[in-house]
Symmetry: C2
Subunit: 183 residues, 2 copies
């Protein structure tokens, strides 16, 4: 099973894909999509959407996981972040993936075991969990891997292959999506 | 010249297209894209993007005008609105249109002559300006027509055909876009 994590932002969008055979998690790819200084805001959105769409096709994940609504920011940054999240979600839905969301605290708890962990602790734990030589960098890529690993941890061992599909065989949407139950 | 106005929202996105020969403005089309109750949030974004993309191809506007960042909302609504605006902007950039933005006050000043005009005043003025039998309804469609008319009014008579293009002949992005000057 493959999970594609996204940490959206209008300046830098982190992405990270992990896969598992039910025992260990393995890194597929990770990185960031950076805005060019010459890009206007609409062009940045277009770049995020275009590059994420290409990465989803290349990685063929079973599910996309995104950090959920971030409440502590002001209205102006929330609006800007919303634009980037919107085109990231669009890329996932167009690819035909279920989209799941986790709060920053839930992601840190799942990866580090502590909801208020620091960024470098998240990077170190991802290095350990994926058996990497170095912590993933920059932190946007590590954050994207963290949300993917968080979703992986939320799936019970028996449910690993059970990505839910609707009658047409397409993956269900996030609203309909429920993590498969044991047995 | 044709201008396509968008009033984005995750529940309802208004759109309106107007054209002018340099004297009078004429309605091309207007309406709303409504979310289905059964749609999850990502599916709503996908619907907005898909329907706007089809409308842009059908209307073939020279420019897309969107109401600019709305500051008075809280972070949560701003984030939600941002998602809808993001996919609307993406549709415009993918179509190859310049995207221009106007504040709500600038739109009301351009249409009604008063920055704090009420919604029904905007609807009545659009009826007059476009020579319609009835005010456009619902107000999301009227608001989309208002931002299109606002951009039309910002272009001086001599500059009507002068949608700026870059070296490749494609319209410039909003950042580069400046309304053409007189003469």
């Amino acid at each position: 099973m493959r999970i594609f994590g996204i940490d959206p932002g209008s300046e830098r969008t982190g992405y990270g894909c992990v896969e598992t055979d039910g025992r260990a998690a393995r890194l597929v790819t990770c990185g960031i999509i950076s805005a060019l200084a010459s890009d206007g805001f609409p062009e940045r959105l277009e770049r995020i959407h275009r590059e994420l769409s290409a990465l989803l096709i290349a990685c063929a994940p079973d599910c996309v996981a995104i950090e959920s609504l971030f409440h502590a920011v002001n209205a102006r940054s929330a609006l800007k972040l919303g634009h980037a999240r919107g085109v990231a979600m669009l890329a996932a839905v167009e690819f035909g993936c279920p989209v799941v969301e986790y709060t920053p605290a839930a992601i840190k708890r799942a990866v580090v075991g502590y909801g208020r962990a620091e960024k470098h602790q998240v990077q170190q734990m991802i290095k350990l969990l994926l058996g990497l030589a170095h912590p993933p960098s920059p932190h946007d890529a590590a954050d994207a891997l963290a949300v993917a690993i968080c979703h992986l941890h939320s799936i019970p061992p028996g449910g690993l292959k059970a990505v839910p599909t609707n009658e047409t065989g397409k993956p269900r949407s996030w609203r309909q999506y429920r993590p498969p139950t044991h047995g």
